[in-house]
Amino acid sequence: MTKPTKAKQLRLKSFAEIESLCHKGALPLYSDEKLVGCIEAGHAEDVNLSVDVLLENLAAKATAAHALKSLLSALKMDPNDVDYVISCSEEAVGDRYNRGGGNLAKAIAEEVACENASGSDVKAFCAGPLYAMVHGASLVQSGVCNKVAVVAGGSLAKLGMKFESHLKKGMPVLEDVLGSFAVILSPAKIGEPCMRLDSAAFHPVRAGASPQAMAECLAEKPLAKLGMKLTDVDRYAVELHNPEITVPSGSGDVPKTNYLTLAALAVIRGQIRKDQMEDFVRTRGMVGYAPTQGHIPSAIVYLGHALDALRNNEINNALFISKGSLFLGRMTQLSDGCSFLVEKSEK
């Protein structure tokens, strides 16, 4: 690890100074009821640098850096060996002249002391992580990079997203987790899990937004390219939102809906009978368990478990499918999605 520069060393202020800053408009930060710090706006007039926006961006940066540091430590990997960092966090870093200009990736690389790395961001709403994985794997496969880190920090904006519904039903605020992840992509090794880049699929503009169209584009067609059927996949990772959070808030059991759509498509194609749909869902799906952090539950949350299951020979492959709600930005009415297959490398 390199020594932190003077600019990166902790700058502690006294409580009197913090209180004074809060009186001048800084946002106080508490641990329980104790004032522990504050955050100041980056500019007096620019709303893109207001305290709440900066706190959101800082939360994404800090949690992504934490995930990457933890991963490098677990792998006993030198941060200097990372060539490139791709961030697919859900934030918009920038000022009024370049709202969402981004490259949080490089800020994360700096924080984690990946001194030899550059980086860039991949944005695609909740589908961002799978797009980022495809981009990262392509950089490795093409020889442009040897080791690529794909990272995402947590979404502060989504904490307590549906808290009103929960409180109305006498439930605690369950959306209290900032989710983050980090993945290191490197050249495939025989016998180790690998991404099948030849399975990567995207949801094209012409495809239409119905769940069946999504399932055809992101599951059926890419599998057909590999000579596989829907029933040849041992495990599907879809939108893995925890139903304990989403059902009480009226959003339904999202993973189950996605699995039933895949099962229904398998019925239409004659791969299973209608009375086998529940079996399809039970054996090839899973109960949602991820916090509603948007990009985190969107399939990528299962990657670590998939690697374990592949290494333990519990499954032969897993298809990752993510969706993005592009329409929320009001620039299109389109949805989006991305998918790829993970299996043990044979070459």
Binding site: A209, P211, E239, H241, S251, G252, V254, K323, S325, F327
Partner: protein
């Protein structure tokens, strides 16, 4: 009975999207004054 009625169609990404609802309703003779798709997760 529905012909000429004005409707607002709100769809859901993991269910039936807004444009699909709108197309069905317009086919049934309703006037869709606004349609949108939302994501509830």
């Amino acid at each position: 009975m529905l012909n000429g009625k004005k409707v607002i169609a709100i769809g859901e990404r993991d269910g039936v999207p807004g444009p699909v609802i709108a197309e069905c309703l317009e086919g049934a003779g309703l006037e869709v004054v606004f349609q949108v798709t939302e994501c509830f997760v």
